[in-house]
């Protein structure tokens, strides 16, 4: 009977119910997508860096783990010192340049030979390795997103590049150019943002890292096989705060709309509340009825929100194929829980108000 009362009330004002459901859906989708976008970006970036095939990475002391933010080049001569360390098989410098023109990209300036020695080389889907100073290697995802093919000219950093090859994704960046050309373009002569090291044997990684820490105190030395675990929102300055702020904003939207929906519901049903009281319904019954109604509305909203999240993700991926949005069951549940708690909280005052209504006044309400 309670279920019938709730469902009939919900369907009595379909537009209001729809607005409430949409508000919760937007709330859930915002949480799921914001977290999915950040964690997707981090995970995908980390996987690509792990996919380089190197064992260790050295960064400058002020550099951050999120390489796109690393604008702290080191002298390229450091590479020579690294190569002298015991158990080091090869060292590859890379200059990283963030580009936001025509999309958001991190461009790796690499030395072809040393990068091949560290990474084992690219898998060429089309074209050939870089030979000239203006050659550009594009991974398959970026090629699809930018609609590039071998032989095309592509302007990047205000420079025309020749697309030499389409390579398989997963080797650090999506765009690779010759190190020397990039150094010239950005005015970072004889500089590198990171050094990638390959050890003679993987089990020597710890030894080499220890040597590096002693030789370059204060320089972050990171094993690449653990890079995925290091790429968390808490390791990126300000990111967790941003996520929390976005979640709080989403929850506030949901909470306010639910509050308004239930508040107007209570006002509109003043007479009905009086009727229920005349039938002997106590305060607990009134509160329970309204909280359950709000919870049911919220559950519809959660399902709609999950659907909306997948829809938005699909739409984004059509427009931006290189984007990675990671929707996980864990965060769907969390977003649902947050929305439900917000809905209950948002309904608690209107429900309390309803339960306290004077029955006689309620019955004479027009």
């Amino acid at each position: 009977m309670m279920a019938e009362l709730i469902f009939r009330n919900l369907f009595h004002r379909p537009l209001r119910t729809l607005i409430g459901v949409l508000a919760v859906a937007v709330e859930v989708a915002l949480v799921v997508l914001i977290v999915g976008l950040t964690s997707g970006l981090l995970t995908e970036t980390a996987k690509r860096i792990e996919g380089i095939g190197a064992d260790i990475m050295l960064q400058s002391p002020s550099a951050q783990i999120f390489l796109a933010f690393s604008g702290s080049p080191m002298p390229i001569k450091i590479g020579n010192k690294l190569a002298e360390l015991k158990y080091v098989q090869s060292v590859a410098p890379a200059l990283l340049q963030f580009n936001s023109t025509g999309g958001i990209d991190v461009i790796y300036g690499i030395d072809r030979e040393s990068f091949r020695a560290v990474s084992g080389g690219f898998v060429f889907l089309e074209g050939r390795d870089m030979e000239g100073p203006d050659d550009l290697l594009v991974d398959d995802w970026a090629a699809k997103a930018k609609n590039l093919k071998v032989g095309d000219t592509y302007n990047l950093l205000n420079h025309d590049w020749h697309v030499a090859a389409i390579i398989e994704h997963g080797k650090g960046a999506r765009l690779f150019v010759p190190l020397a050309t990039l150094q010239d373009l950005v005015g970072a002569h004889d500089k590198a943002s990171i050094f990638l090291l390959k050890c003679t044997r993987p089990e020597h990684t710890e030894d080499v890292m220890e040597q590096m820490r002693q030789t370059f105190p204060g320089y972050p030395v990171r094993p690449l096989k653990d890079f995925l675990s290091l790429m968390t929102s808490t390791n990126i300055p300000g990111l967790q705060a941003f996520i929390n702020a976005m979640i709080a904003l989403a929850v506030s939207i949901g909470l306010l709309v639910i509050f308004l929906t239930m508040y107007t519901t209570v006002i509109e049903r003043t007479r009905d509340i009086g009727v229920l009281k005349s039938l002997g319904a106590g305060r607990a019954f009134i509160v329970r009825a309204l909280l359950t109604e709000s919870a049911v509305l919220c559950i519809f909203g959660i399902f709609a929100g999950v659907g909306l999240s997948y829809l938005v993700r699909a739409a984004f991926l059509v427009g931006y194929p290189t984007l990675s949005i990671l929707i996980t069951p864990e965060w769907i549940l969390r977003a649902g829980g947050i929305a439900l708690a917000g809905a209950i909280f948002g309904t608690s005052y209107p429900a309390w108000l309803a339960s306290r209504k004077d029955a006689v006044e309620a019955l004479s309400y027009d």
């Binding site: 009977m1 309670m2 019938e4 009362l5 009939r8 009330n9 369907f11 009595h12 007479r271 009905d272 009086g274 009727v275 229920l276 009281k277 005349s278 039938l279 002997g280 319904a281 106590g282 305060r283 019954f285 004077d358 029955a359 006689v360 019955l363």
Partner: protein, 248 residues
């Protein structure tokens, strides 16, 4: 007080008949109800003394603003008395908390209002069944069938209030009020929004409830003709009972 009583069950069977001393099922003693308009106290009831015996049907008449509705709300436990006592089936409402009065209302009082006051989102069936649900004993299909058949609602149970005539809505309201077999049925101008034909139908049903089932009824009305369906008529004026003296 010595009177003759006849008590029948819902199915109409005579269970007890004979001479018996009967306590009033409803009694008020020096009942006052004051409303506050700013700092001014406005008395709606000014020392009402009133008794209703089990199985009795009483019509309360009086001009607008004489305190009829206030009396009904106070004896029904919807409003708290300012002074005096209200005894319903031996329970003193004036000494009860809001929660206790709610519980008493749930089990012993049935209300019928002038404006029907059906839940607009529910069907006739839902409006009646929700009273059973609130009562706490769950849905009783037998009782439901007996009541709806008696009130001629069988064909209208799946209709919402907006799809029913005023007379039908009021019959649903009566069914809802009596579905839990309350000790007292309180009706606040139940024919006030009905045409003559429907008024007669509703009044006849109330009369049958009283005569056939022994349902105690207190009804407020403006309509002198309606009082002919009742055992006794009580007149009110200026917040007091003026028994035996027509108020209008």
């Amino acid at each position: 007080m010595q009177i003759t009583t006849t008590i029948r069950t819902l199915s109409g069977g005579l269970t007890l008949s004979g001479q018996k001393i009967v306590e009033p099922i409803l009694k008020t003693e020096n009942l006052w109800k004051l409303y506050h308009a700013g700092k001014v106290e406005v008395p709606a009831l000014r020392g009402v003394n009133f008794e209703v015996l089990p199985g009795e049907s009483v019509a309360v008449m009086g001009p607008s603003g004489c305190g009829k509705s206030s009396l009904l709300y106070v004896i029904g436990g919807l409003a708290q008395a300012s002074r005096g006592r209200v005894l319903v089936d031996g329970n003193d409402l004036s000494a009860m908390s809001d929660g206790e009065r709610t519980k008493l209302r749930r089990h012993k009082i049935g209300f019928v209002f002038q404006r029907f006051n059906l839940l607009p989102t529910m069907t006739a069936k839902g409006n009646i069944a929700i009273a059973q649900f609130i009562h706490g004993d769950g849905f009783d299909p037998h009782r439901f069938d007996v009541v709806t058949k008696m009130l001629g609602l069988e064909g209208r149970l799946h209709h919402k209030p907006s799809e029913m005539s005023g007379g039908e809505q009021q019959r649903v309201a009566i069914a809802r009020a009596i579905i839990n077999e309350p000790k007292i049925l309180l009706a606040d101008e139940p024919t006030g929004n009905l045409d003559t034909n429907n008024s007669d139908i509703v009044l006849e049903m109330l009369r049958r409830l009283n005569k056939d089932l022994g349902q105690t009824i207190v009804m407020i009305t403006h309509n002198p003709e309606a009082t002919t369906y009742f055992d006794r008529v009580v007149h009110m004026r200026d917040g007091v009972i003026v028994d035996g003296v027509p108020a209008d």
